[in-house]
């Protein structure tokens, strides 16, 4: 059942916890919408290549087990930086 069932007119991913891949890392958070300024996530945490300890896969594995370690309440990611968006629940790490 997608978010738009409860929030008519919203994006299918509204309210869903997603993994958003960029060229420099990952953001994991609750998808809100696509705005003119980018993709808006809530309660989001991030993995930065070369900065965050471990690999992207390890970060996702830990997130699947323990949940999203949110560092920001709201995060806008410019659309041009987005490589892929998928549901966290569909990740097999």
């Amino acid at each position: 059942m997608s978010g738009h069932v409860f929030h008519p007119g919203h994006h299918d991913l509204h309210g869903i916890t997603v993994v958003l891949e960029t060229n420099t890392g990952l953001w994991v958070g609750r998808f809100d919408s696509v705005t003119p300024k980018g993709v808006l996530l809530h309660d989001a945490g991030c993995y930065e290549d070369g900065v965050t300890e471990g690999t992207r896969e390890e970060y996702l594995r830990k997130t699947l087990k323990f949940g999203v370690r949110a560092t920001v309440k709201n995060k806008l990611i410019p659309e041009q930086d987005v490589r892929e968006i998928r549901q966290l629940a569909e990740v097999t790490a």
Binding site: M1, V5, H7, H14, L88
Partner: protein
């Protein structure tokens, strides 16, 4: 900011009507979870229709299983802020999300259902996972 009580009252009632004890204060949480031996299911309730709308019926289905936790309690995220924060303090490394469910045995989390494991899933599917956890970690048989 909490939602109007009139909006959340039916969601509270949905949980208490299935036998969950609602914990609204830090003292309630400490008394029910803090020193509880045995198994406790803690349901973190939410107004989120996308996920909680399926999570509450899932708990109800799971509580019809033949093996159950010793007690089922609930706190309401976004409403009873102190109680929720206190409940989460018992969840160790598990990060806050709502709705979510923690199964504790002798004070330790042995199974956790995150929001992302609820989103988009049917109550039946969520309940099936939950009853598997009951079978694994709980020992209280339910008399017919």
């Amino acid at each position: 900011m909490p939602y109007p009580e009139s909006l959340v009252a039916p969601m509270r009632a949905e949980m208490t009507s299935m036998g969950a004890v609602e914990l609204r204060t830090v003292a309630d949480v400490d008394a029910a979870v803090g020193s509880a031996a045995g198994t406790t299911l803690v349901f973190v309730n939410s107004v989120c229709g996308c996920a909680a709308g399926n999570a509450r019926p899932a708990v109800k289905m799971a509580l019809g299983h033949g093996v159950l936790p010793d007690r089922t309690v609930t706190v309401f995220a976004g409403q009873d802020l102190d109680a929720v924060a206190r409940a989460r303090s018992y969840f160790g490394e598990y990060q806050p999300s709502s709705p979510s469910m923690a199964l504790l045995r002798d004070g330790e989390v042995v199974h956790f259902v995150h929001r992302h494991q609820i989103e988009g899933r049917s109550p039946q599917a969520i309940a099936t996972d939950l009853t598997k956890a009951f079978d694994t970690y709980c020992s209280r048989p339910v008399s017919a």
